[in-house]
């Protein structure tokens, strides 16, 4: 029985130490992301695809997916829509 009490104490300590450590570790990771990664994202944004416009071939739509200007127009429309929706 005494042995069991001893085990209980050990398990309890392990539980406490373990949870504190997991929280500290992941909490530190939160800090790292906020302090280092997020500013990094601002400093090095993903390269924006430059719209490749060849003046003479405006009519030929690019066959590889949607052109960036269309995407930009749609995103602008979506964000306006979202903002309007939020207010109402």
């Amino acid at each position: 029985m005494e042995n069991l009490t001893q085990l209980f104490i050990e398990a309890g300590t392990l539980m406490l130490v373990g949870m504190v450590f997991v929280y500290t570790f992941l909490g530190l990771l939160v800090l790292i992301i906020n302090k280092f990664l997020a500013p990094l994202a601002k400093a090095y944004p993903d390269p924006v695809l430059q719209p490749k416009r060849k003046p003479s071939t405006t009519k030929t739509l690019s066959t590889e997916g949607v052109s960036p200007s269309v995407v930009a127009a749609i995103s602008a429309a979506v964000s306006t829509y979202r903002q309007q929706n939020k207010k109402s």
Binding site: A11, F21, I33, L37
Partner: protein
């Protein structure tokens, strides 16, 4: 006549022991769960078949010289297979949702309560006659609460190899049962208004962040918890291969062919541990019971933490995503999404729940490292 007798003695029928028959039925049940119920079939099918092979009399699959013996010794007792799988999981994981909203890492931490509370529970089971769990056994059982198959197998092979079969069966069965275990707990701990909470759209995460993230995680693990570096290191390697974008071939191999090959062997190797003398005892029942408790406490821990964070956070946090902190990627995130949709049909929580979900993978790897460092 003597010839007939010899022939009879070389048949399986003459040598079947009761325990072997029971264990073959256990194997058959696993096959049933995999094929008919679609419960984690990728692992339960080879595992169930391995259990049948292991218990064939005279065939000697698990004795020295037997196929399953070597598979186990080469891949599982060394920890190689679970680590290779972890690399593949890393190559399949997108940390974008987590980097965009890093505070959900705390939900992944909270859900590890399931692990450490179960550790306590496993020790408490020692009061039942017939059950004797040491602290090592208890730690290996508790990791079921991490809801992460490879982590559970890795830790069990290091701390309590004799319990590995039961632990793996419990871990994968309960992972398949996540959609049944979690929702009642999630509903009980939240009210309808909380479940309706809509979260803000996640910001865009750049490639630079995604490439540096696995390196940052690895660096932290090197500094603070080297015992977890086998798991975290392989995970980060897989993730870096994915995000760097320069080794697409390796990344594709890690998340397809390699993980598939390893899964076959891992399943067979774990199945080889399902022999009568190791599986048919009170301890297995205890492990199965503790596994369910571990999942439930983990879910509750995540949901309660999310409720707490919602009170103090500037941006709203739907408590349901806390339940995804138990890892079990991506099932737990889907469950959070589904329960959220029941309360508010326009509320898609899937992407928000993926954050705590992958945080849970990191959390359980860290927890496994702690247990290895302190108990192993």
């Amino acid at each position: 006549m003597e010839l007939l007798n010899t022939l009879w003695l070389s048949t399986g029928l003459a040598h079947f022991e009761f325990g072997q028959v029971v264990m073959m039925s256990v194997g058959a049940i696993l096959l049933y769960l995999a094929i008919v119920r679609n419960f984690e079939p990728l692992l339960l099918l080879p595992m169930g078949f391995g259990a049948i092979l292991t218990n064939i009399p005279l065939a000697g699959f698990t004795e020295a010289g037997g196929l399953l013996h070597y598979i186990y010794e080469v891949g599982i007792s060394t920890g190689v297979f679970p680590l290779l799988i972890f690399m593949g999981v890393g190559a399949m994981t997108d940390f974008g949702a987590l980097i965009a909203n890093p505070k959900v890492l705390l939900l992944g931490a909270a859900a590890q309560l399931g692990i450490f509370a179960t550790l306590f529970g496993a020790i408490a089971l020692n009061v039942i006659p017939g059950i004797e769990f040491t602290l090592k056994d208890a730690s290996a059982i508790a990791i079921i609460g991490g809801a992460d198959g490879p982590t559970a197998i890795f830790l069990a092979s290091k701390l309590a190899p004799e319990l590995l079969g039961a632990i793996a069966v419990a871990a994968y069965s309960y992972m398949a049962l996540v959609p049944i275990i979690q929702p009642p707990i999630m509903r009980a701990l939240t009210n309808v208004d909380e479940r309706k909470i809509e979260m803000e759209q996640l910001r865009h995460v750049t490639k630079v962040e995604k490439v540096i993230f696995p390196l940052a995680v690895l660096l932290m693990t090197i500094f603070f918890l080297p015992a977890a570096t086998p798991l975290v290191g392989m995970f980060c390697l897989g993730n870096l291969m994915r995000e760097s974008g320069v080794v697409d071939r390796l990344s594709a191999t890690a998340q397809n062919e390699l993980i598939n090959i390893t899964t076959i062997f891992l399943g067979l190797g774990v199945g080889s541990k399902l022999s009568a003398e190791k599986f048919l005892n009170v301890e297995t029942l205890g492990i199965l019971a503790l596994g369910a408790v571990a999942f439930s406490i983990g879910t509750a821990g995540g949901v309660l933490m999310a409720k707490l964070m919602n009170k103090f956070s500037k941006t709203p946090i739907n408590p349901l995503i806390g339940a995804a902190g138990v890892s079990a990627v991506p099932m737990a995130a889907r469950v959070a999404n589904k329960v959220g949709l029941e309360a508010n049909p326009h509320n898609f929580l899937l992407m928000h729940a993926m954050g705590p979900n992958v945080a849970g993978v990191l959390g359980s790897a860290v927890a496994a490292g702690i247990l290895l460092a302190l108990v192993g």
